[in-house]
Symmetry: C2
């Protein structure tokens, strides 16, 4: 698999030891995350919008209403960031407090998907990133729904990965201090599914949620 | 408390019923979140950087190395977004799949904090947002550490809040379909603290983690 090649925008300047050029690491972050933060420029100022996404091969798909400001802003250069928080890092000194995380930044100009088959493939990637297997369980998009939805494709060619893992990095001189030091793991967990009040009794859970 | 007053940038255009003008709602989102996504413009293109933050009154504080690109980019217009994911929304139709979330967008030009007392107050807000009570438990910043750290203050004057909660909004005609519909709650949980391998045996846990 082609490694990530640093460009002027993706080169890790601060703490380069936290950078990774592994494309597999990029894929793992994108496939584990559910929300990305889409950065666009609107009227000359940045805007950062949380939104769903999905990956298919080396392409990231985004969607939105055809009328949304974010979709219009996303036809120029964008930055899409996915961040997974893994832990709170408590050090003996205040300034060495940190977080353990894995993050991916993707740069590029998204392409508006017009081909119907690719549009469906992009939407499938987005839905499947929410709940695997869901695409085949729910009603497919109508022509009207498809027309009202913009699907954008962003190449993963220009991307960077940055992670921090492990214990705090206290100064040698601080190791004798009384303060506790270590990591508090942070996890994202799913709770028990809560059925729609209008759900017909007896409707089985989606396969991905029932452990089937 | 002053409500949030919509500006051209903060007016909720898409699904305005999801908007809130409650400043308390803004504070709750910021106080529950741990990571924000800072959007800056660098060399004309957007960049979205995950980073820690803290709130003190009506000011959001950010910090970073004085040499970081993000800190230099943050002396112009920025957008800071905090997103809390609350649930996966499964509908009977694919296009009504969604997520329950609470998000806050803050716009403005950060001010570089030069006053020592405010710099410490800003750093305290950031550390306390990570682990409440931690400021008084660990070694305070040295003059050298303070000099190497940029602290930015961003007013919460121009902000918007957008949330989605509740069950899916399926079309009437889809209610008879067989597909399961409902919400899968998503929560962020802390695991058991993992001590630094170099921790002196017997060092007590921070108050916030020990339930003390």
């Amino acid at each position: 698999m082609t490694p990530l090649s640093p460009t002027e925008r993706t080169r890790i300047r601060r703490l380069p030891e936290r950078g990774s050029v592994s494309r597999e690491a990029l894929y793992r972050i994108l496939d584990e995350g559910r929300i990305c933060h889409l950065g666009v420029t609107i009227d000359g100022t940045p805007r950062v919008i949380p939104t769903a996404y999905g990956r298919a091969g080396d392409t990231l798909y985004l969607h939105g209403s055809t009328g949304a400001v974010s979709m219009r802003g996303a036809t120029a250069d964008v930055c899409v960031t996915v961040t997974l928080l893994d832990g709170l890092v408590l050090a003996r000194s205040l300034m060495h407090h940190s977080m353990n995380y894995r993050s991916a930044l993707i740069f590029g100009t998204p392409r508006t998907v017009t081909d119907r088959a690719e549009k469906l493939a992009g939407l499938r990637a987005i839905v499947e990133n929410l709940v695997p297997g869901r695409w085949d369980e729910a009603r497919e998009p109508s022509a009207k729904e498809l027309a009202a939805t913009a699907v954008l494709a962003l190449s993963l060619a220009e991307a960077s990965v940055k992670t921090r893992q492990g214990p705090p990095n206290d100064d040698e001189a601080d190791l004798a201090l009384d303060a506790w030091a270590g990591v508090v793991p942070v996890r994202t967990v799913l709770g028990d599914p809560s059925p729609d009040p209008l759900l017909r009794p007896g409707t089985p859970l989606p396969a991905a949620l029932s452990g089937a």
